[in-house]
Symmetry: C2
């Protein structure tokens, strides 16, 4: 095979993760082994940077700084959420031609994989030789064809630790209910991971709801009341994309249409805490860590970081080996222990596909996950250290 000489371009799509920069550094690192890549550019703010020809020269970065960047959450290149229009694809190709871009590495979720595929197809139809490889990235863990997605393990670690810590606060100052809102639109992978917070029978979260199972307000309230009666407090983990029994966004029918009131929408944990206060007459509150769930520098899973970097390297290896229109995947080896290899999936099988949380890992009651999921997720987050408790030997009463 003839080596394809030219520029490599890397870009980020969609929301940042804790390890997207590790993938970027994987690309930078591997690129130096392939002299047919004559320059390495980054697009500022995702595909918009390509459209606007807003590119930076990654060869002019200091290697020591690059190693720091590899360990830093967030997108060092910048990213965007931009729905490409038909004419944008021609423009992308024009920019590629102008800079002799022959390698395109796009790090993102299923929308980004769709973009990568469309760019690659247009290049092919135009007779422009281009190798386009997708690097998986999403905290939602909803990409098809891969065991899991870089970014998920760190976000899962964040939420597991959040539920552990909020759970301890509620347990130690009881008489309260807390509803914690976890990121995730249609897929419950992240909210499911909060189960890693538990060590003791009374540990939070006491209830976990996933958007893959519809939920009625009555069922939710009955669940909360049962936990509260048992423990004197309750902590609930809920996915921001939870659906009600009709399949509509949960809480929509609880929100009146007039005045400011519909603006409760997009604020599910608060709606649920208000519902608990109103109907159960319990003290309830809500926590919404929001963007912290994917940006906190304090919660980076070591395996997630290493795998993200590996995916970046593998993308360069695959492209220089002549492959295009593929996405790097993570393949869990069979057998005891946790070992990961990389693989490749056709972009066509990934673009716009969505891998939901498996029904067989959801508790029949619909308010928890099953142990098989914990076996799946544990190696991805690393340890969620338990909080030590006093032995608390009672003193005999004298009154």
């Amino acid at each position: 095979m003839q080596k394809l000489r030219g520029t490599a371009l890397v870009a980020h799509g969609g929301g940042p993760t804790a390890v997207i920069n590790a993938s970027l550094v994987g690309v930078i690192e591997e690129r130096s082994r392939h002299d047919e890549i004559t320059a390495l550019y980054g697009a500022r703010y995702g595909i918009k940077g390509v459209l606007e020809e807003d590119l930076i020269d990654l060869d002019r970065e200091d290697p020591e700084l690059i190693e720091l960047i590899a360990r830093t959450p967030g997108s060092a290149l910048g990213s965007c959420r931009y729905k490409l229009k038909e004419q944008d694809y021609e423009r992308i190709l024009a920019v590629f031609r102008a800079h002799n871009v022959r390698y395109f590495f796009y790090t993102g979720g299923n929308d980004s994989m769709d973009t990568t595929l469309k760019v690659a197809r247009l290049a092919r139809a135009s007779g422009y030789e281009l190798r386009a490889i997708g690097i998986p990235k999403t905290i939602d863990n909803d990409l098809a064809e891969t065991d899991h997605c870089p970014g998920y393990g760190s976000a899962a670690l964040f939420y597991a630790c959040a539920l552990r810590d909020i759970g301890a606060d509620i347990r130690e100052l009881p008489g309260r209910v807390s509803v914690v809102e976890v990121m995730g639109r249609n897929a419950g992978w992240l909210v499911a991971a909060t189960a890693l917070a538990r060590r003791n029978a009374d540990d939070a979260p006491h209830l976990i709801y996933l958007p893959e199972r519809r939920l009625s307000a009555d069922r939710f309230l009955a669940d909360v009341e049962a936990v509260y009666r048992r423990l004197g407090y309750a902590v609930v983990a809920v996915c921001e994309g939870q659906r009600d029994e009709r399949g509509e966004p949960f809480g929509a029918d609880l929100i009146a249409a007039d005045g400011f009131s519909h603006e409760l929408a997009g604020n599910l944990a608060h709606v649920l805490s208000q519902l608990i206060t109103r109907r159960l007459k319990l003290r309830a509150r809500s926590e919404k860590p929001g963007l912290l769930g994917r940006s906190s520098a304090a919660f980076v899973s070591p395996s997630d970081q290493a795998e993200a970097r590996l995916c970046g390297r593998e993308a360069v290896r695959a492209a220089t080996a002549g492959i295009s229109e593929g996405m790097v995947t993570l393949v869990r080896e069979a057998g005891p222990g946790y070992r990961i290899e990389t693989g490749l999936a056709e972009l066509e099988r990934v673009a716009n596909a969505e891998r939901l949380f498996p029904q067989e890992w959801i508790h029949p009651e619909g308010n928890d996950v099953l142990p098989a999921f914990l076996e799946y997720v544990k190696p991805l987050t690393g340890e969620v250290a338990p909080r030590p408790r006093l032995r608390a030997v009672p003193v005999g009463r004298r009154l």
Copy 2:
């Protein structure tokens, strides 16, 4: 002075902090040096544990576990928010008599200091010899007579890191506004500390509002719009106890009174993000880390932890030296560098007093803090590490 032989009792009041257990372990540690303390008990769930005679024997804890507990956020004893009734004080004294409690260490904020004082006075009036010492604890940093309060530095570190990380997310995926809600009822010490997140001119938070300054919706919106025009994004830190221009809870007049709508109350960041969306037509969102701000095991300031432990030790030293009706204070030594000694304040001067954020540290525009505050707060949190950025050398345009 005759040594006072008897049991020591320690209890926690109000919300936990990241270092309240360090103070507990300070008491445990120092107690072993004073043989007139014949037993050391802890009250479960704060003063309620005293009322209900729900006590544990802290002498039966494993020393290695105790060291782990010292580094664990939250209240290992449990705490409560309970407004004592008149007859409760008699009951407390009865429990103290029954267990020969002669030393009472109550760790809490100004309400708890008031309780400590009332118990001490009742004992004195009853001719029951008791030494009652308050150990300061509050993330709000609003206790009088002390340079700062154990618990504040760690919570300040949490919020500074949160604003740094959320700020990076917003900057890297611009076109958005985020309003971050920070704990604090009447005092803006915590929201002020988010200024530690900044290193570069475009770093978050771009606006900081404190409850010590009234704020109108119009002013707020004008501030946000100005930042957005300059940067293309904006991140706002706001205290949950922010007041409007009439001195009422901010947003109350924006919330209609009918249906669910008034239930937006207690959710300030969301109200503000809705206001931005509605009036400025900008994409806005809110983050409310909530209880994570005081419970996260990942954000413990080393100096805060050390000082909290010192306060616990000092409480025992003071009580065994014959002092009562005092609260341990932290005294910052004059001169260069940061050195702390402990002192003692009369409980009477602390009980129910509230130390607000000084007006002279608030920016004249009312939307930021001044550098003098940063000098005050930096030693309390430890370093808020900056996030490295790429050099980002632009590639010349060809189109």
